[in-house]
């Protein structure tokens, strides 16, 4: 038996889009806690713009759902669809590096490395003190 999670998606959310992006995550995800997907902006681009990043395995339906009309699923009946739709409008899948005015996504096969995806997004980690 093969896993249904055949792809890896790495999503870079500009710091000012985190609230909307979490509502989109609630729509596209599988848990009622998915509005906490994006929290701290721990990555930055070459210009110092900050991003919250999530990298996760996904089912192929993820890309289909990302392009369709959003719905409130049973696990997320309280989702704010207006915010989710605003975030959806910013999605760019496999179209280049992260910039502050888009939500850039690298979508690849499941065994691809999250770290490699982050390089493709043009991001690096912000150093955090232990």
């Amino acid at each position: 038996m093969n896993t249904k999670y055949t792809q890896r998606a790495t999503i870079a959310v500009p710091i000012y889009q985190i609230e909307d992006a979490n509502q989109l995550a609630l729509c596209l995800g599988e848990s009622s806690s998915d509005d906490q997907t994006f929290t701290t902006a721990k990555y930055q681009d070459a210009d110092g713009n900050l991003y919250a990043v999530c990298s996760t395995v996904v089912k192929p339906i993820f890309a289909e759902m990302a392009g369709e009309d959003l719905q409130a699923h049973t696990h997320a009946l309280n989702v704010n669809l207006e915010k989710a739709q605003r975030a959806q409008a910013l999605l760019q899948i496999n179209e280049g590096t992260a910039t502050p005015n888009v939500i850039a996504v690298i979508l690849g096969v499941r065994l691809e490395s999250a770290q490699e995806h982050i390089q493709l997004l043009g991001l690096s980690a912000v150093l955090i003190e232990e």
Partner: protein
């Protein structure tokens, strides 16, 4: 084959650990702690509620049951932050991506205590940095235990032990550097007030901290975290094949048996 949760199998006959070694006995008589075993699929679930079992290579892990009997089950309720179950058909591990993956328990009573010390053992392979596991208070106002690390170009380093009230002060913790990508068993112990943090990488003693640790500060209830410290604030990328956190001072015989058992989990011979 799915092994049942909590079965008292004599693992020595299956996969190392020395004659008659039974890991669950390490937690008999009310010993606190946790035991996580990714090779036991009956303990892995895709969701935090524990309703959808992990069945195959590549499934996300939203819940990993604690096999110690203490009920310290580790969960991740956010679907995008879940580590991945991986297997090559022989070995079994959790893959943490170093970006956002981690598992965490509810706040639990401190495993490290003055009266019992702590023994920690992890079978691991780090891709970047050090495999972090902790029961840690971010405010540093209390003591708990932590493994953390520094990300270098070619090496990883463990910084592990029982924390002083203020921080892991220089010279008072256990630290060791090792080649990245080497599968290994990392162990450390602290035997209570006025003892040292001691650590081993496989069978090599890599540190006796130069100063004993006085009993300073309060042990408080904190979550136990896997792949992270400080509630997912610091994460690392790599594989975890098994974890024991034991609120007890192990005899050398038991310690050696446990290391041998963990070595079998990571596919090495000590």
């Amino acid at each position: 084959m799915r092994l049942g949760f909590g079965l008292g199998l004599q693992y020595s006959r299956l996969s190392g650990g020395g004659s008659g070694f039974t890991p669950s006995n390490l937690f008999s008589n009310g010993v606190r702690g946790a035991w996580y075993d990714p090779s036991d699929l009956s303990t892995l679930f895709q969701d935090a509620a524990g309703t959808t079992p992990v069945t195959t290579d590549g499934d996300p892990v939203g819940k990993m049951l604690d096999k110690s009997g203490n009920g310290n089950h580790a969960k991740q309720s956010v679907s995008g932050l879940r580590p991945i179950y991986r297997t090559d058909g022989t070995l079994h591990w959790l893959d943490g991506n170093g970006v956002d993956d981690f598992l965490i328990t509810d706040a639990i009573a401190p495993i490290a205590r003055d009266s019992t010390g702590i023994y920690f053992s992890m079978a691991a392979k780090s891709n970047q940095g050090t495999l972090r596991v902790s029961q840690y208070n971010a405010s540093n106002s209390s003591r708990n235990f932590s493994t953390s690390g520094v990300i270098g170009d070619n090496v990883s380093s463990y910084n592990a032990g029982t924390q002083l009230a203020s921080s892991f002060e220089a010279g008072k913790f256990a630290i060791v550097e090792f080649n990245r990508d080497n599968p290994h068993v990392f162990s450390f112990k602290w035997e209570g007030p006025n003892s040292y943090n001691k650590a081993q990488l496989n069978n090599e003693t890599v540190i006796d901290s130069p100063e004993t640790l006085a009993s300073v500060g309060t042990f408080t209830s904190q979550p136990l975290e896997i792949f992270s410290i400080n509630n997912g604030n610091l994460l690392t990328e790599g594989r975890i094949y098994g974890i024991f956190v034991i609120g007890d001072v192990l005899t050398e015989t038991k310690s050696n048996s446990l290391k041998e058992y963990m070595a079998s989990k990571v596919g090495i011979t000590l």
